[in-house]
């Protein structure tokens, strides 16, 4: 494994801020494909950081025992926003900038924008396929899924279907995605899969191991890794188009309490949970599922305002392949 600093900024006090890239070179002169995995654009999203650790660990073992398996080149960027990760904060500290809203922003000279530009340029120069790992926000827990902006689905669906996800969600574009890494790379013709899993500030090892297996399968199926033996069984993901997602929102502010497990197949009319007024000891609302399907998003943060999302249900199945 080759360790490289793709960018290094001297810190005003001591040390430096660096983005580290771990590279597993190909056994052949010209790599079949170059694939990159990255995590930590948001400093409170640790699931992807752990997946990158597991990837490095697994690939290093493979390199030690089967170096000829590496037909392509593999880059892992485990912690691309180290300052934010050290603070466990979504935004880059000091200037409170969202690194994943700085991509392609040529007018911003801030430290975060420079870090984002360095990462984007390095990925453009070194990758044919990119996987960008994210966890959910402070409030919602997500089943392992890949999100694809409408218009890129034709190119990305065949790759996404190899990744052992529970779900692939094709959703409309919106201005909020304009300055994200995923959109900028996909527009630049580098297929980029955006993975969402778990919740921020936590690690769900079962989700991470599921995604690790998916990434190993992706590398085998794209020829980056050549291994003997049958391909592993991966999940057939549920393909969800924009109109196939039912959002459940709170009608009252209060404490949301649910004991329905994430990933359950749920039926219309069944109880999702309740919203209670903890001060007055009252049940404000019994929340029921508006439709049948796969419960793939569930609120974990109990404190809830009226209008807040409580759950998402994937309504129908279809085969993305």
């Amino acid at each position: 494994m080759k360790t490289q600093k793709i960018v290094s900024f001297k810190s005003p006090l001591e040390g430096s801020v660096e983005i580290i890239r771990q590279t597993f070179t190909a056994a052949r002169e010209k790599p079949v494909k170059r694939i990159a995995f990255l995590a930590g654009l948001h400093g409170d999203e640790l699931e992807g950081v752990y997946i990158c650790h597991r990837l490095i660990e697994t690939l290093q073992q493979l390199k030690d025992t089967r170096p000829q398996a590496f037909q392509g080149e593999i880059h892992v960027y485990p912690a691309v926003n180290p300052k934010a990760l050290n603070c466990a904060s979504r935004l880059s500290p000091f200037f409170l900038k969202d690194m994943n809203r700085q991509m392609g922003n040529e007018f911003d000279a801030s430290f975060t924008a420079q870090l984002a530009a360095a990462l984007l340029n390095d990925l453009r120069a070194s990758s044919d396929i990119v996987v960008d790992f994210h966890a959910s926000n402070l409030h919602l827990k997500e089943l392992p899924q890949i999100r694809i902006i409408e218009g890129f689905d034709k190119k990305l669906l065949p790759l996404a279907a190899l990744c052992n996800m529970d779900l692939i969600w094709v959703h409309p574009s919106a201005p909020v995605f304009e300055s994200t890494l995923g959109l900028n790379l996909n527009r630049g013709k580098i297929p980029t899969l955006v993975v969402e899993t778990g919740i921020c500030l936590r690690i769900h090892q079962n989700f991470c191991e599921q995604i690790l297996a998916g990434m190993m399968n992706l590398m085998r199926q794209t020829g980056v890794l050549e291994l003997d033996g049958p391909l592993p069984q991966v999940k057939q993901p549920l393909l969800v188009q924009p109109r196939q997602v039912a959002l459940v929102q709170a009608r009252h502010s209060g404490l949301f309490v649910s004991d329905v497990p994430l990933g359950d197949r749920v039926n219309k009319g069944e109880t999702l949970g309740k919203i209670v007024d903890a001060v007055r000891g009252e049940i404000l609302e019994t929340v029921t599922f508006p439709a049948s399907g796969l419960l793939f998003t569930l609120r974990e943060q109990p404190a809830t305002y009226q209008g807040a999302p409580l759950a998402r249900i994937a309504l129908e199945e279809s085969d993305p392949r």
Binding site: R90, L91, F94, F95, L96, R101, Q102, G104, N105, F107, D108, N137, L138, H139, P175, V176, E178, S179, Q249, H252, S253, G254, L255, A278, V279, A303, T304, Y305, Q306, G307, A308, P309
Partner: protein
Amino acid sequence: MKQNLLSIASPFGGAVTLCKNSWEGEKSPDNVLSIVSGMHGDQMNGLYIHSRLTRFLDAIVAGHEPDFQLEGRVQLFPVVNVHAVQSGSRLWSFDNLDFDLAFPGNDNGEVAEQIARSLYTHTADSTHAILLKTAQAHYEDAPHVQCVDPDRPAKKMAQSLGLEMVQELSPAPAFKLSLFYHWLENSIPSLILSAGKPGALDRPSGDFLLK
């Protein structure tokens, strides 16, 4: 007149609200100036300017300012992100969402989206609009005007403010999610007035901008 435009109950009592103070002249009530502040919780100068403006406009309406007459309508939105202002932080720690990246908002969305929608709706009929802010973290702004690709009415409006500096902004892609962008999209002559530093009240700058 003070109006409560939106009230969302908090989980443990109280509410998140969006309020508007407005004064209406009789001569040209279709001329509407909207002034917004408190989009971020660490921007104190806008709140101060609003309090001074409120007293000033009340005095005009009461006839205590004989040199001034209110002809059109003025509507002030002093605080957009109430919880962030109360905590003195730029963002509300509950969701760390930037309210100025929530526009045009959503009546049925989360708190930030509902407030954004209400503010957007209630300023949509403005003939002029001003957003009050301070410098970004760790900087201090001298009082100045900010604008984006200004047209003739916006330039005229900027000149009328009598400030020495006008900065033309080069907007980032995320600008499309801001209130200012949507004002411009609605062809409302709009400006940003920035002064001072976050987390601090700069009364001389506030008084200067008020004039």
